[in-house]
Symmetry: D2
Subunit: 286 residues, 4 copies
C-alpha cells in the first residue's frame, strides 16, 4: 500500500493509509454539516440526549443546548446496548422526532446507524451519520456510509489503536466520501474509576497524522457527570476541533447514560468556560 | 433483568443473562453441527485455512486436516481486514468452493458472516455460521443470526469482558437460537510479543457461568506458528470443548495469516499430542 | 479501615485511605518545597534534564529553565533503567552537581531515590524526594521516605489504579509525613503510538478524592517531544497543580530520554502558552 | 548491547539480554534449591500459605503439602500489601518459624525479600529468595540478590512485558548469580472476572528466549480457589517447569489470600491430576 505522510514520525510506527495521510502544507479538511463547518477555527459543540425518548425530552433539551451555543444536536434512535434486554431506542419514530426538531429549531442532527440495511433510511433524516465505537471495524457498514453522500462521524473503538482507527476511516474514504470527522471517546484500560480512559493524546496524534477533523466525547470518555466539564476543557486545550456531549433536561429519569449527562444549566455554564480555553489556544466558540 | 445462576460466585461480579445462565444440574448444551456434536466428551477440532484462496489450496488443506482428525473445516469467504487495501476474500465464489469441498469430503463447514444482508446467503452454504471478534457487539448481526436456524460460532471481542461476551451470546439466544458455541481467541493487552494474549482462564470461567460449549483459537490467540501447538495443548488441559486452528498447505504463500498457520504435517503431529492431553483430562479426540 | 470522604462517589468504587481522604471543606494541602508552594493558586513548573550528566549540561539547562519561569529543577542522579547495561546515573557525583546548581542559582531540587539505604543521603541534597513509577509499590522505600522530613513527589505506577496510588501515598502519610505531591505520568495501555497513555482524568479524580496536590508529567506521558507542549496545556486545563517536564540544552546528545526532552527555546515558548491556559482556568504561572 | 539468540524470532521484536539469551544447543539451566532441581524433567511443585501466621498454621500446612508431593515450601514473612493498614507479615519471627519447619520436615523454603537491607537476613533463612511482582523493577534489590549466592525466584511484574522481565533477570545475572527461576503470575488487563489474567503464552515465550526455568503461579494468576486446579493443569501442559500455589490448612481464617488458597485435600487431589498431565507432555511429578 502506498502511503503519504509529510511529518517525520521517528517515534511512531504507524502505517498511514493513503487518503487519510496528511499532504505537505495541506490544511485540515473542513467537513460541512448542513452549513456548520467542522475543522476550522471554531470549536464546534455537539450536544443532546443519549437517546431520543419522547418529544418533550428532545425539544426541551434541544432548545436549551441551542440557546447555550451548541451547533449540532445529537440523539440516538437506534441504540447499541450491551444487553438485549436494555432499551434499544425508538427506531424510526426517533428519526421522525429528530426531523421535527431539526425543522422547528433549524439545528443539524447527528444520529447513529448500526446496520447496513438502515444506512439509506438514516441518511434521509440525519445531517451527519454516526458510526459508533462498537462498529468501528464493521467494514460493510463503513463501506456503505462511504457510498452515501452524507458526512460521517466515526467514533474510535474502545479497543482500537490509532492505526486501526485511521484504517477504519480509510474504508469510508476509499468509497469516495472524504467528509469524515474522527472522534476520540475513551479507550478501555485497567483503570475502573472512570468508565473509560479518555486518551487526549489521540487528538494531537490524529491531527499530526491526517487531515481530518478530530472531536472528543468527554461524556463516554469519563462516564461521570461532574468530570465532563473538566475533561471538555482539557480536550479543547489539546486542540480538539469539537466536542460531543450528552445533555439531558432531566438526567435522573434518562433511559440511558443519565449518570454522565449534563443538566441544562451545567451545559450552559460550561460553554462560558470553554470559550475562555478556546481563546487561550487561538480558537473560538460561539 | 432476571438472572439465573446456580454457582456461588462470591468473587465474580457478573450479571449473567437469563438464557445463558447455568441451571442447577444442567449439563452443557450440545451444539450439533451437521452431525458433529460440540460440547460432549469429545474435544472437537476445527481446522483449515484463514481464507479460501482457490480450489487447490482449499481441497489439499481440507483433505489433509480431515485425514488427521479434524471434524469441521474452517475457511473465510468474507474477510474482515484492518485495511481496505488488503485481500477481502473471494466472497460468493469462496462459498461455492466451500460447498464443493463439503460435498466431496463430507466435512461440515464453518465460515464467517459480516453483514446482516449476507446472513441468508451464508446460511445456505455454512453448517456453522461464524460471527468474528470485530462483530461481537454488532447487535443487528447477532439478532439476524439469532433468527436463522443454523448454529453459531461466536468469537470473543479482543477487548470484550466475560460479561459483555455473555450478553452478546444472549442477543442470539434471545431470538430463539440456543445453538451457540463460544470461542476465546485472545484479548488485547499491553504485551506485544504475541499477537494477542490468549486468556485461557476464560475457558473455565465461561463454563462456570453458562451451559454453552467453549472452544479456543490458539492461532489468533498467539499469532506465532511455533507457539500454536503448545497453547492448543494448554487449552485442552483447561477444559476447552474444541479448538479452531489455521492450517495451510503452503503457509509461505498464504494470502493472510501465513505466520500463524500450521503446516499439514505439524497439524498431523499435533493431533497425536492433543490426544494424550485429552485422555489426561478424561476427554477424547478422534 | 476507617475512611473519610466528603464527596458522594456513587460511580467510583474506591476505598479512600484515612489520611489522604478529603475532609469536608478542607482545602488542598499545600506542600512547601524550600519556599515554593505546590497546591495553591499558582501552577508550579518543574523542569530539567532526565539525568544529571555533567556540570555544563546541568548548569546551562538550569539557568535557562529558571529564566523561563521554572520554579523547581529536576535531574536524576540514580536512574532506574530497564537494562543493567544502560547508563545508571552519576550517583553521588550527580547529587553534588545538583547541590552546586542549587546554591549557585537558588532553585530547589527534586531528584529520585531508589533504595532505602539511600534515603538519608538523598535527603541531604534534595529539597523534594522523588519516588519513581517503578517504586510506587516499593513499600519499605515509601515507609522510609515517610519517616524523613522532606516533602515527597510520588509518581503513579504505570499500571497502578487510582486506589493503589492513594494507598501508596498512604504508606508515606502513615509514617507522619503529609508533604506528598502526587504525579500522573502516563499509564500502560494497548496503544503504542505514544510511550504511555497520559491519563488526564486522573487529575480531577485524584483532586476529588484527596487533599494532596497533583501534578502531571507530559514528557514520560507521551514520550514525544512535539506532543509535550500540547499535553502540558491540556494538563493545566484539567486542573493540574503543576507540571514536571524534561528539558535538555542539547537533546540530541542526551544520555537518556532525548526524544522526549524539550529544547531550551521550546520550553521558553511553552511557558507563555501555559500562562494563557492557567489564566483561563483561574490559575497563575510565573 | 551484545545479544545472543539462537532462535529465529521473526515475529518477536525483543532485545534479548546477553546472559539470559539462549545459547545454541544449550539446555535449560537447572537451578538447584538445596537439592531440589528446577528446570529438569520433573515439574516441581512449590506450595504453602500466603503468609506465615503462626506455628500451627505453618506446620500443619507444610506437613500436608509435603506428604502430597510438594518439594518446596512457600510462606511470606515480609508481605507487600497494597494498604499500610493490612497485615504486613510476622517479619523475623516468621523467618524463625520457617527455619523450624525446614529443619523439622527437611523441606526447602522460599520466602520473599522486599528491602535491600533485608537481603542478608533473608538469605540466612531461605533456600530460595523471592523477589515479588511489585519489586520486579526494584533495581537495587535485583542487584543485591544478584550478589548473594542464593538462588532467586523472580516473579513477573503485573505490568511487565516479556522484554522487561528478561532485563530484570539480567540485573541479577549481571552480578554473577545465574541461579534464577522466572515465574509468570498473571498480568493486569481490562478483564476483572479474575484477579489477574494468567498469561500462559509467557511460558513457551520465555523458554524460547532464555535458558532459565519458568514456573507458574495459578493462585495469584486467577485469584479464585476453584479455578486454580484447572489453570495449574493448563500451565503444566504449556510446559511450565514448576508451579507455585497457595495452600492453607484453614483458608476461611487466613490472614491473606484466603479466597485463592487451596484446602489441603484439594491440593492432594490436584497432585494426582497434575501427574497425568505431566506424563502426557513427557514430564514427571512426584
Amino acid at each position: 500500500m502506498e502511503t503519504i505522510s509529510c511529518n517525520k514520525l521517528e517515534d511512531v510506527k504507524i502505517t498511514i493509509p493513503k487518503q487519510v495521510g496528511k499532504l505537505e502544507n495541506q490544511k485540515t479538511t473542513i467537513v460541512n454539516v448542513s452549513g456548520i463547518e467542522v475543522g476550522g477555527k471554531e470549536v464546534v459543540i455537539f450536544a443532546g440526549p443519549c437517546a431520543v425518548e419522547n418529544k418533550e425530552q428532545l425539544f426541551e433539551t434541544a432548545k436549551s443546548v441551542k440557546a447555550s451555543g451548541a451547533k449540532i444536536l445529537r440523539g440516538g434512535a437506534f441504540k447499541p446496548r450491551s444487553s438485549p434486554y436494555s432499551f434499544q431506542g425508538l427506531g424510526k419514530e426517533g428519526l421522525e422526532l429528530l426531523s421535527q426538531v431539526n425543522k422547528a429549531l433549524d439545528i443539524p442532527i447527528v444520529t447513529e446507524v448500526m446496520d447496513t440495511r438502515q444506512v439509506e433510511l438514516v441518511s434521509e433524516y440525519a445531517d451527519l451519520i454516526q458510526v459508533g465505537s462498537r462498529n468501528m471495524q464493521n467494514f460493510p457498514l463503513l463501506k456503505e456510509v462511504g457510498k452515501s453522500k452524507k458526512p460521517v462521524l466515526l467514533k474510535r473503538g474502545m479497543m482500537a489503536t490509532i492505526e486501526e482507527f485511521l484504517n477504519a476511516a480509510e474504508y469510508i474514504l476509499s468509497q469516495g466520501n472524504n467528509q469524515v470527522i474522527l472522534c476520540e471517546r475513551g479507550i478501555r484500560t485497567f483503570e475502573t474509576s472512570t468508565r473509560n480512559t479518555l486518551d487526549l493524546s489521540a487528538v494531537p496524534m490524529l491531527k499530526h497524522l491526517t487531515h481530518l477533523p478530530v472531536i472528543v466525547d468527554p461524556s463516554h470518555g469519563t462516564g461521570l457527570r461532574w468530570m465532563v466539564p473538566i475533561m471538555a476543557k482539557a480536550a479543547v486545550a489539546a486542540g480538539a476541533d469539537g466536542l460531543i456531549m450528552e445533555v439531558h433536561y432531566k438526567p435522573e429519569i434518562a433511559l440511558c447514560d443519565g449518570n454522565q449527562s449534563l443538566r441544562l444549566n451545567e451545559f450552559s455554564e460550561l460553554m462560558v468556560d470553554l470559550g475562555k480555553i478556546a481563546k487561550a489556544v487561538g480558537r473560538t466558540i460561539l
